[in-house]
Amino acid sequence: MIRTEGLSKSFEGFWAVRDLTLEVHPGEILALLGPNGAGKTTTVRMLSAVLRPSRGRAWIGGYEVTQSPDEVRSLVGVLTEQHGLYTRMTALEYLTFFARLYDLPPEASARRIRHWLTFFGLWEFRHQRIGNYSKGMRQKLALSRALLHHPQALLLDEPTSAMDPESARRVRQAIASLRSEERAIILCTHNLVEAETLADRIAILDQGRLVALGTPEELKDQALGPPRFRVVLAEPRTDPPPLPPGFQVEEQQPTSLVVRPPRGEADNPRLLRALLHAGWPVTRLEEVPRTLEDAYLALMERLHGKTESLPQAA
């Protein structure tokens, strides 16, 4: 549904996006991560046929973005970084305006406007001027605009920023339900928990380049290595643990130790057998949690060197 091949964009010699090749299938969510200025917004703008690629190509639903920009724009729903709402209009007028621009029949337009405004809890405020809306309400209205024409591809830039937890959850539910409707979704976000929860795959951009692409688990493996396991003991042990060859002890406390098996989870039976055989009182074996945030930061550290620590408070 969404495909790019060597997609690049330069602004007066500065490459905002370089050789980006990726594919997002129907029913898939791809989270686009990266620091500020990594090229996420530029990518979204190229995919929505607003910016013309300097090099490479991109397709939405089979339509090339430079050859068929109007068709591409009718297939994508875009939540822009800046919501760009007309503050002197009411929510109803605003959505009706965009429904007419997207050439929706009046009945379908009325039905969809009602559906999304109700879904986001804005229906009762539909006659209020947008200028009186809170930041979160504006965000939800902008999202309603992006979804109004039933787009096959969704490009969402920070969809839950400025939202209260309840609204953010609602939006995440909406995004998940859109995946089940076979839409292809690109989600640009700095919220790594959200990315981990929603995304099927993650792409990390840095200085315009794609530096990592894979499922959250693949990315964690890539950035943090194979999973580690904590062995919790019933009583303290200070002698070296009797581990099979290939196992590494990463941390040892009197009542626990952290071990990295060579083949990950599959090696756990061997680990347990060895410890129990040597009479170690194992009460629990658990995976040390690896978050996407850890993986992302590790990757960034690898790319840019160690990040500076915060100055100590006096």
């Binding site: 607003v50 910016l51 339509y63 822009t80 800046q82 760009g84 007309y86 209009m89």
Partner: protein, 507 residues
């Protein structure tokens, strides 16, 4: 998967459509334009900063003008010059119509730049509408309210004049004023919307608006002059010129409308260094010395001007022909005795002419070539200035004017039996024209090309870049060909032309 709607252009080349299908496609094409128009009008009608001055101008100005008119009538009646007051009314009508229109300039200047500043432009640019639809939607929306206010103002002012002063406008005068008001409004708005698409901020657009306000102010003065003279037919020519200019401006606006630039143009700083380098590169090209410059920059450009030069030459000759025909016709229709002695009697005229030519040749001293050169430069500067403001067209008219006068002089000399047209051409035009005519032809052609470059679409470069580069290329021709030829022409005109003319008159 849902298929996207087909975005058909209303006039696909080679497509043969039935009238009904053509109408339906045309309506479909205009639909988004009307949607944008509707939204903009809704927005404007809710903005007190727009509504208040429009209402004020509409309601207040007719009465103010009526007050002025009554005072004026009272004043001129004391001197028995009621005719002055009557000539004044159409002018006030024009003023009443123009003031509400000035608001359109403010709205137009902020049409794109304002949306960009408020970040509302991106969702619009992402919508599946064509550039032309968005551009025209904005353009039309800016016009509607001010034009309505303008018409209301004119109507109420006429009502007040009829009621208080018992004055009724002649239908043709009224039509001229109304059409002029509309075309002026359309021209201002087109130019302002163009500036709004190219400006980085509303402030920058407002600063650029001087380029609209000054010519329109000059135009209003010219229009008022023709209204006082009662030369209403000239107003229609002005309408025609305004419509042509508007069409060209809209064409430029569409040609340079660039979604990418609208989103990404961030800097509001004039980089004089970059501008100078761009201009210099356009003037000098790759040349390293004067010889190379002539060979690589000037001569190829002169060759490129071959076709426009031929067109300009044809226009200059046509101007000469029109001048000749007009004066010959006038002279044939009037009683010669009505002409003053000094120009009616061939002998007196010849003596005067010879005296003047002698003075030119013998008393001209060394400063004459310089004076002639500077005079010609002033004329060329005026032509350039008007040409820049009108895509070359009005500048060309300035060059054509002296050729019209020459044609007239040719007819007059023939009327006095002093020279035949051929003799006049050989004796009075050719000696310095051998350098001046090619210079003027090249000047006119380069002006036309300058205008053509500005209206030619360029998706790769901004309008500013194209303007500067085109000016640079024009400078090549001016410095490399026009200026040397004009210098040569000034010397020929000072030292050779009067001698040849004297020889023709005295042989």
């Amino acid at each position: 998967m849902e298929k996207p709607k087909a975005y058909l252009k209303p006039h696909s080349p080679g497509a043969t459509l039935s009238p009904a299908r053509w109408l339906s496609r045309t309506r479909a094409w205009w639909r988004p334009v009307l949607v944008i128009l509707h939204r903009e009008l809704l927005d404007q009608s809710r903005d007190w900063r727009i509504v208040t001055p429009i209402v004020g101008f509409t309601l207040f100005f007719p009465f103010l003008m009526n007050f002025v008119a009554r005072r004026m009538v009272g004043f001129v009646e004391r001197f028995g010059a009621e005719i002055v007051a009557e000539r004044f009314f159409p002018f006030l009508l024009l003023v009443v119509g123009f003031f509400p229109l000035s608001i359109s300039l403010v709205i137009a200047l902020e049409s794109f730049a304002g949306e960009r500043e408020r970040n509302t432009i991106e969702p619009l640019l992402i919508a599946p509408i064509q550039d032309a639809q968005l551009y025209l939607g904005k353009l039309l929306s800016v016009l509607v309210l001010p034009l309505l206010a303008s018409f209301l103002g004119i109507l109420s002012y006429i009502g007040v004049l009829m009621w208080r002063l018992d004055w009724k406008p002649e239908p043709m005068t009224l039509a001229a004023v109304v059409v002029l008001t509309v075309t002026q409004g359309v021209l201002m708005v087109s130019a302002a919307v163009l500036m709004s698409t190219q400006a980085t901020s509303v402030r920058a657009a407002n600063l650029l608006a001087t380029l609209i306000i000054v010519p329109i102010a000059l135009l209003l003065q010219a229009e008022s002059m023709f209204l006082f003279w009662r030369q209403y037919h000239v107003l229609w020519y002005i309408v025609l010129a305004l419509l042509l200019t508007t069409a060209l401006i809209v064409r430029v606006g569409l040609a340079y409308f660039n979604r990418e630039a609208l989103l990404n143009r961030e800097m509001d700083v004039i980089n004089l260094g970059t501008l100078w380098r761009l201009y210099r590169r356009a003037v000098v090209g790759e040349a390293r010395n004067l010889r190379e410059w002539y060979a690589r920059a000037v001569w190829p450009e002169v060759r490129r001007l071959a076709l426009p030069s031929l067109s300009v030459l044809a226009l200059l000759l046509a101007a000469m022909g029109i001048g000749y025909a007009t004066v010959a016709r006038e002279l044939a229709s009037i009683d010669p005795h009505l002409l003053p002695q000094s120009i009616r009697d061939p002998d007196t005229y010849l003596q005067n002419l010879q005296r003047w030519l002698h003075a030119s040749v013998l008393g001209g001293a060394g400063r004459l070539p310089l004076a002639l050169f500077l005079h010609n430069m002033r004329a060329l500067f005026l032509a350039w200035l008007l040409g820049v403001m009108s895509f070359g067209v009005v500048g060309l008219l300035v060059i054509m004017l002296p050729f019209g006068i020459l044609g007239g002089a040719m007819a007059y000399m023939q009327f006095l039996n002093l020279t035949t047209p051929t003799e006049f051409f050989l004796g009075f035009v050719l000696p310095h024209g051998v350098a001046e005519v090619p210079a003027l032809v090249l000047f006119g052609a380069s002006l036309l090309r300058l205008g053509a470059r500005w209206i030619t679409p360029s998706r790769q470069r901004s309008l500013g870049e194209v303007w500067i580069t085109s000016l640079g290329i024009w400078t090549r021709i001016f410095l490399g060909a026009v200026l040397p030829l004009m210098l040569l022409a000034a010397f020929l005109e000072a030292y050779l032309a009067p001698r040849v003319a004297l020889w023709f008159l005295t042989r």
